[in-house]
Symmetry: C2
Subunit: 236 residues, 2 copies
DNA sequence: CGTGTATTTTGAACGAGATTCAAATAATGA
DNA sequence: TCATTATTTGAATCTCGTTCAAAATACACG
């Protein structure tokens, strides 16, 4: 009998409803003011029902972040599969990742919050591993590029494994994006156009890793042409 | 009459007491469980008195982070003033910053939390600008190195100002450190020895920026010798 | 169908803790 | 000394997140 399956499907549909609504509430009124009771009411369910899905508010936030990562992941992997040199593809990931962050400002803020010890530690282990699992796909895509670059001789391993080699570009991208998140921080340091700077420094790092073909960084016009090309072609 | 000044001094002393105690409580029992009433009681003051100093819990956290930055700043600036090439000094900052983070794990977690939209937005504007002001000293130290490197011809500007050029190394360091903070994240990605990787990628980035003298990255022993030298000399 | 049992949903009650504020206390100055 | 002003106090308030006993619903079996 399909009763169990139907139940299962309904349960999942409800979870989706909760998450969609939570996302809307956060967009409309901010992460700060999200209330569990309010969310339940908005979905015409009782508070307790919400807690059948999420063991705590933090749990919900981790689930939201996970779903966002999954959505982002599609776009990300599409860019990773772009028909181009490994160097171009690696750079494309930086551009795509950052563009996604700019397009969804709330997403980055949520991720930043979720990875905080305070939140991360109070989410359920299940949700935490689900999030880590969701990261596997994009991480795998990056690693595949690194592996191919190694195989093709575009990149030397320097004695590190592929994951280790991708940490730099990844960390750089994450670091600059999170500084960009903190309102007023970069302004105050006298930095603007962080986007262009992220692209510039990413290319510099790839050059420094000896990732062939090296590109000339002296000309900002060339750099922005690269970025435009990625935006035009990598997501086509 | 010095009455006003004495009052002022006593007020500041009390603030210091609150902050020292808060730090101890956080160290002993975690950021998560810090309670305002508890903190006040621990200092033999009423809750309301605590609120004369800090407009909210978030405000207190930002103040704590600020003080930590100030403390870190000394060490940081000492390393920046190391008698060595601009390239060596720039790299030294990465090492020192990361070492400080490793030595004070709670510090990094606090910073990460404080820069979260949720916390940052609920701190008072005064505390926020105080924190930004505290960042000026280390930021200035980094910028000075970049400026000297430009003047000495160790580094080309590529059309960017000094602050812009320092964003990459800074962002890389911050990004990798914050990934390191998130328990289990790097393990799960199959990455260990993130310290060495931070050093490696930092050097790669500096090479990629064309920061003279370039160093050879093929040999991990050379890299770790650099790190050791920094630890030995830069803070002497 | 009716009826007993298991499952799910409900939302009021509870608890934890941040924040406030009227009253008490202390400092100041005439 | 006493009126006035500033500071301190901590119980009361308020805001949620979370729980759980009761109600509602679904299900199984005679």
């Amino acid at each position: 009998m399909g009763t169990r399956e139907r139940k299962q499907r309904e349960f999942e549909a409800r979870e989706t409803l909760f998450m969609d609504t939570a996302r809307r509430l956060i967009r409309e009124e901010g992460l700060l003011t999200l209330q569990m009771a309010r969310l339940a009411r908005e979905c015409d369910y009782a508070t307790g029902t919400l807690y059948q899905h999420f063991s705590s508010k933090e749990d919900l936030l981790v689930a939201l972040a996970t779903r966002r990562i999954e959505e982002h992941s599609d776009e990300f992997c599409r860019a990773a599969a772009w028909q181009a040199s490994t160097r171009e593809r690696m750079f494309a990931l930086t551009v795509v990742d950052h563009d996604f962050g700019q397009r969804h400002p709330g997403y980055m803020r949520l991720l930043q919050y979720v990875f905080t010890e305070v939140v991360w530690a109070s989410a359920s282990p299940g949700r935490r591993t689900a999030l880590q699992k969701a990261l596997e796909q994009p991480a795998g895509a990056v690693r595949a590029i690194v592996e191919q670059a190694l195989a093709d001789g575009d990149l030397k391993s320097h004695g590190f494994n592929p994951q280790a080699l991708m940490l730099g570009p990844w960390g750089l991208c994450a670091g600059i994006q999170s500084m960009q998140q903190t309102r007023g921080m970069l302004d105050h340091l006298g930095i603007d156009a962080a986007d262009e700077l992220l692209h510039f420094h990413s290319q510099a790092l790839l050059n420094g890793l000896g990732w062939q073909p090296l590109i000339d960084l002296n000309d900002r016009a060339t750099l922005s042409a690269w970025v435009e090309r990625v935006r035009r072609e990598a997501l086509a």
